[in-house]
């Protein structure tokens, strides 16, 4: 296994530290800062991008007046939210009320920690990355549930209950799809999953497993939208029904945390999708199908594309997926809460199980593309 950059830094720190605990702390801090940078850094930009996507799909312009094309709009929003009055509603459970906004962030940060960003860029690489991801991503639910419950507001509580039911349900199919990818690639190690897709586009799991890959990807996107609590599946917020759902009572910084967490979650989820289906940090490469006249041309194009470091490919894929999530949100109406549940239990879950079974059959009969 090749040496990852972080390991390199870690070794460097370890070498020069007087005590081993100092090294652990310094390494920890570096890791935290790195994750923060990856997670929190792009969020304001993503929020800006979301507002622009919304605007363009709606034939308007979007934020225009702060910075060029309104680029600094979200910076304004965040600063403003930080300096607003923080209200604790009457009758709220104070401790849980303020603990709740921190939890969704924690979950996504932990997911971000095991994402391989490049060949040599990964904060931690537990051998069993996928089970770890499945485990920690449940933390987000807790935050929402606590927020709704501790707010002492019926709308919040309804939102939280909806959210709890929804996220726990969709966790099931999300896990099953991850299992499908694990089955295909033969490894639960996130890096190994990426590396199993080496080659050209046809080696990505979305295409490599004929029909199954694309079905799994579509189902992953549906489940992920539900898991993210984003429109059209934003049952827990459901502005037209529950005013603002579980965060009805949150103001100022606490609300900003929820506001940002949504986008950080989105980065984490899209990163996972890109790892599982779109070849992660691997560059985009055209297939040549062994067709002699174009082999040379394709090879040179692919060579050119591969110059870009893997990190950019990863970022590009994440941005693409996030934009897709945004299109979902700004196109589709919201199903009713029971319909969303039956979508999961009556449609997605059986489909997932069939998918898993078919996956095993495909592998057994060697139907996976070479």
């Amino acid at each position: 296994m090749d040496l990852s950059t972080t390991n390199f830094i870690g070794d460097l720190v370890r070498e020069y530290s007087p005590y081993s605990w100092v090294a652990s702390i310094v390494n920890g801090v570096i890791a935290i800062v790195a994750i923060m940078a990856v997670g929190v850094g792009p969020s304001p930009m993503l929020i800006w991008w979301e507002r622009k996507v919304a605007a363009f799909t709606q034939a308007r312009l979007g934020p225009m007046r702060v910075g060029p094309w309104g680029l600094l709009q979200t910076v304004c929003d965040v600063i403003k939210l930080l300096f607003k009055e923080l209200i604790t509603p009457h009758g709220a459970d104070k401790l849980l009320f303020f603990l709740a906004p921190a939890l969704p962030l924690t979950g996504s940060f932990l997911v971000l920690a095991v994402i391989p960003w490049d060949h040599n860029l990964q904060v931690a690489n537990p051998g069993m990355g996928v089970p770890f991801i499945i485990a920690v991503s449940s933390l987000g639910i807790l935050g929402t549930l606590l927020a709704g419950w501790s707010s002492n507001n019926k709308f919040s509580l309804l939102g939280a209950l909806r959210c709890g039911a929804q996220m726990i349900s969709y966790e099931v199919s999300l896990s099953l799809i991850m299992l499908f990818v694990v089955l295909m690639s033969g490894s639960a190690d996130v890096r190994e999953i990426v590396l199993s897709q080496q080659g050209n586009v046809t080696d990505w799991w979305i295409i490599k497993a004929p029909f199954l890959g694309i079905a799994a990807f579509v189902m992953y996107m549906i489940s992920a939208t539900a898991e993210l609590n984003r429109g059209p599946f934003d049952m827990s917020e459901a502005e037209q029904e529950l005013t603002a759902g579980f965060h009805t009572e949150y103001s100022s910084t606490a609300f900003a945390m929820f506001f940002l967490a949504e986008y950080i979650n989105m980065v984490a989820t899209s990163a996972l999708a890109s790892v599982f289906f779109l070849g992660g940090f691997l560059p985009f490469a055209f297939p040549d199908f062994g067709f002699a006249p174009i082999v040379g041309v394709v090879a040179s194009i692919n060579g050119a594309l591969a110059i870009l470091p893997g990190f950019f490919w990863m970022a590009g894929k994440i941005l693409f997926l996030i934009t897709l999530f945004m299109f979902f949100r700004w196109t589709y109406p919201r199903p009713r809460v029971d319909q969303l549940m039956s979508l999961e239990w009556k449609f997605l879950l059986p489909a997932n199980l069939i998918l898993l079974g078919l996956g095993a059959v495909f592998i057994a009969f060697g139907l996976i593309l070479p």
């Binding site: 363009f56 799909t57 034939a59 308007r60 312009l61 299109f327």
Partner: protein, 153 residues
């Protein structure tokens, strides 16, 4: 027997539903990828070129000619036509003792811009202007005085 039917409707619904969703997406994507369809007018930036329709009722104005004279005779017809007591026509006597317009108060904070005063005016002394930028940060000061000087007589 029943199973094939259920499966059939199941797949039909899935496929048709997915198609419907894709069709919906085609509309929004159509807008997204064609920025030429954006029709936003940028108000504070376009203030210089902004041209409202001449008929637009934004405020009551009293046009004055080049000598600074207006046409109001103080007949109070507009005042009576106003559903809202927005207009106060306060008459005075000029030096010859003739009744002329003294002060024409127009309370823009109460005005509903219905245009009945304009229709009631037999002398074409008041018009509906296009101005709409009347926002203020103070409550007092919405009583505009439309005439620049006393009426002719």
């Amino acid at each position: 027997m029943a199973a094939p039917v259920i499966l059939d409707t199941y797949f039909k619904r899935t496929v048709l539903g997915a198609l419907g969703l894709l069709k919906g997406m085609s509309v929004t994507l159509g807008y997204f990828f064609r920025p030429s369809r954006i029709l936003t007018e940028q108000y504070p930036e376009n203030r210089k070129t902004l041209k409202l329709h001449p008929a637009f009722r934004g405020e009551v104005i009293m046009p004055h000619d080049e000598n600074g004279d207006h046409k109001c005779t103080g007949c109070t017809l507009c005042e009576k036509a106003c559903p809202n007591a927005t207009i106060s026509v306060l008459n005075t006597k000029n030096i010859a003792g003739k009744k002329v317009l003294g002060k024409y108060i127009y309370r823009i904070d109460q005005c509903t811009l219905c245009g009945l005063c304009i229709e009631a005016c037999p002398f074409d002394a008041i018009h509906m202007g296009n101005g709409f930028e009347h926002a203020r940060t103070q409550r007092d000061g919405f009583d505009l005085i439309l005439n620049k000087k006393e009426g002719r007589g």
